[in-house]
Symmetry: C2
Subunit: 140 residues, 2 copies
């Protein structure tokens, strides 16, 4: 297991090299703190959330509920953010739903961590890892 501290997070944010989007969409809960910091960096107020909750149906089967899809019609370039692309199922399902609903928008994805075993590779990520990550907001 690897601890990901707030200082690590700040270091990673310094390396950010992404064009300013029209809106940031955080996948809740994991993407909330990242979205908040990115909104400050990009100086934009258009920060929205979408909820994703995954259930393990069986040991091999994962089901993900996506809800609270925000109204994004006024925007063009959307940056979807989450803490980690682990199995990759959350990003995959969120993108699928959003692309169906908003056919003319450009979606880019950013995760702090990307696992090579993930079925989804974000457009941007800070670190690649095979480890279990304990994020600073989880340490209670």
């Amino acid at each position: 297991m690897k601890d990901y501290t707030y200082d690590n997070f700040r270091d990673d944010l310094q390396k950010l090299n992404i064009l300013k989007p029209d809106a940031i969409l955080a996948i809740a809960r994991g993407g909330l703190t990242l979205a908040h910091h990115l909104a400050e960096i990009f100086d934009i107020r258009e920060v929205f959330t979408i909820n994703a909750v995954s259930y393990e149906k069986t040991q091999k089967k994962e089901t993900i509920d996506i809800f609270n899809i925000p109204n994004l019609h006024s925007y063009k370039n959307i940056l979807i953010v989450d803490d980690i692309s682990d199995s990759g199922e959350t990003f995959k399902k969120v993108l699928k739903i959003l692309k169906e609903k908003y056919k003319n928008l450009n979606f880019k994805t950013l995760a702090i961590f990307y696992k090579p075993s993930s079925k989804f590779k974000p457009d941007f990520y800070f670190q690649e890892t095979n480890e279990w990550i304990r994020f600073f907001w989880e340490k209670y």
Copy 2:
């Protein structure tokens, strides 16, 4: 001006003495990081956001737009969170709108900082201050 660091935030979160709500509603952007951490503390996935953007019309007049009101019908006790109750107008307007829409829900409010000059006093707050606060997520 006073710097509010991530360590200060962690210290404040330790003092938290609030009953677990059914859902957390973050006022975006200011409440996002707080909501994320609270969701971990309370171990709940029901974290939603509402957007508040304030414009200074004149030096004395502030207008606040509230949008993306989430569906809260399945819940009873909602904790609304923001970074600071400064003028207090944001909390006041968000509460007014939510109470009109959801007459049977219980709303409680939490801010990290409360200014005595605020027109609104949150049910809970970590610190009272008269200073200008620079939050850790703002330091870019």
